[in-house]
Chain length 291, copies 2
């Protein structure tokens, strides 16, 4: 059955470079939406490629250089791998027909700068789907991962309206919600809303591991489970995020540390009213955000 | 149908002082287990009492002084309210027949000290069910709240074996898992596993609220939601915890802050290998803990 809304995307040959949780889920979501004439997959891990073929997540396993034969190229690796791929593309003299390039990297400023150096045949748009799991790998991929989730686009200055339109078609096809931001604004907001919570979770796990009492883990209930969840995130992805969004993350950490130190002072002072005054806005906002 | 395992508990008149999430859920769980000959409820809030009666969560609404007519008295208020109740009991000369007293307070050392001052007719045991929700109040109570959750008992030196046995019957009846700890050990472990994560969540919310960009909340996805969840906890309960477990919480905060500062230094140094080495044990332990 034709879905008239996604005609251009339906006709594209799509290549997804990086078949992890994100790339695999995107392939499944595009399949479910009957978007993409063909879906090619590229991954340095033969097991991921084999899994993707066996499960019919992709139509064809490709090597990195052949993806330039696709009309829509999606980079779904960790950020520093995307930067290396863009660097490789930037050294190409001419590759042939024009390619819309979308990346799904978790930080956008360094990728946006690298995109500016691509040859003119590339039509690049930065993207970041605001979803994830604490598990990684294509075996955890799911077609509904993006549904009703925010999908940020950070268009480069050189991106054509056609490239933007194709990226928006993809976002609509997988059921996500478009939000357009500058790369810098994305990175500052992601530092506070996502990268800081990751560092907090890792520091909590490390602090808990200093306790020499195994009953700690028996006592760790749903509060500990949720607060520490992000510590289980994929290390390669997270190290790349910490390195490529360093300044914004250090700003967010500094701001958080100020608030933490205020609480340490307040708890030390043991004044119930002052504690209540400090805690109440956090409680009110959290209650309002997620009901 | 008789449940032969809970004969003594089945014959008890049980009074629950404090009909919030914990007290209300305990009443529902006891009912579901056909435990307690009668369940009396006490609360300073007439609306909570009326709700408990209307929903048949309790058999009878009682006032505070009449609970001494019950054989099994359970204190389910925030910690400082429990301390005030114990202080009131400690001034009684003689109340009549012996009473097994169990409290569900979130911190145990100060309550254990207060229990030592009770008149001899009280047979007190400290308790803490390791479960909760970020919502409070009897309207959120549920019979299964304690099922498969750890329920800590912190027996006082004066507790009789009969009091311990009755508390254990209750834990079995509501489907929880018994763990016996000293009050001090409980408080140190709860500071790290529960109270520190709460302060972290509140500080995260406060840090996020300093960001002057409403798109922050659009970007705040499941990672932020989970890491900030505890900030929505009941303020009276949490302020009481911070005040009555102050030293252990400050210790846990100090330990956490050291780990946080290490991460700030590592991110600032931008060394991928060093970051990976620091993050890996946190990831491994978190992955092993909750699968």
């Amino acid at each position: 059955m034709d879905e008239p809304g996604f005609t251009r995307l339906a006709r594209c040959r799509v290549a997804i470079v990086g078949l992890g949780l994100m790339g695999g889920s995107l392939a499944l979501a595009l399949r479910a939406a009957k978007a993409g004439r063909e879906i090619w997959g590229v991954d340095s891990d033969p097991a991921a490629l084999a899994f993707a073929l066996e499960q019919s997540i992709i139509d064809c396993a490709a090597d990195f250089d052949s993806v330039l034969n696709c009309e829509f190229l999606i980079l779904a690796a960790p950020v520093r791998a995307i930067l290396a791929q863009l660097e490789r593309f930037s050294r190409l003299m001419h590759h042939g027909s024009p390619i819309t390039l979308l990346d799904l990297g978790s930080t956008k400023s360094q990728i946006a700068a690298a995109m500016e150096k691509l040859p003119p045949d590339f039509d690049p748009v930065g993207g970041h789907p605001m979803c994830g799991k604490e598990v990684s790998g294509i075996e955890n991929a799911e077609a509904n991962l993006f549904r009703d989730k925010t999908f940020v686009l950070t268009p480069t200055k050189r991106a054509s309206s056609a490239a933007l339109a194709l990226a928006q078609e993809l976002i609509a096809a997988i059921g996500a919600r478009l939000l357009i931001l500058s790369p810098e604004r994305h990175d500052a907001l992601a530092a506070m809303s996502s990268h800081l919570p990751y560092v907090m979770a890792a520091a909590l796990m490390r602090a808990a591991q200093t306790v020499d009492d195994d009953q700690l883990w028996t006592l760790a209930a749903s509060g500990f489970r949720d607060t520490s969840r992000l510590a289980a995130s994929d290390l390669t992805m997270m190290v790349d995020i910490l390195l490529t969004n360093r300044a914004a993350i250090l700003d967010a950490l500094g701001c958080y540390r100020t608030e933490l130190d205020s609480f340490i002072t307040l708890i030390d002072a043991a004044d119930p009213d002052a504690l209540r005054v400090a805690l109440a806005p956090a409680q009110a906002k959290r209650g309002q955000l997620f009901q």
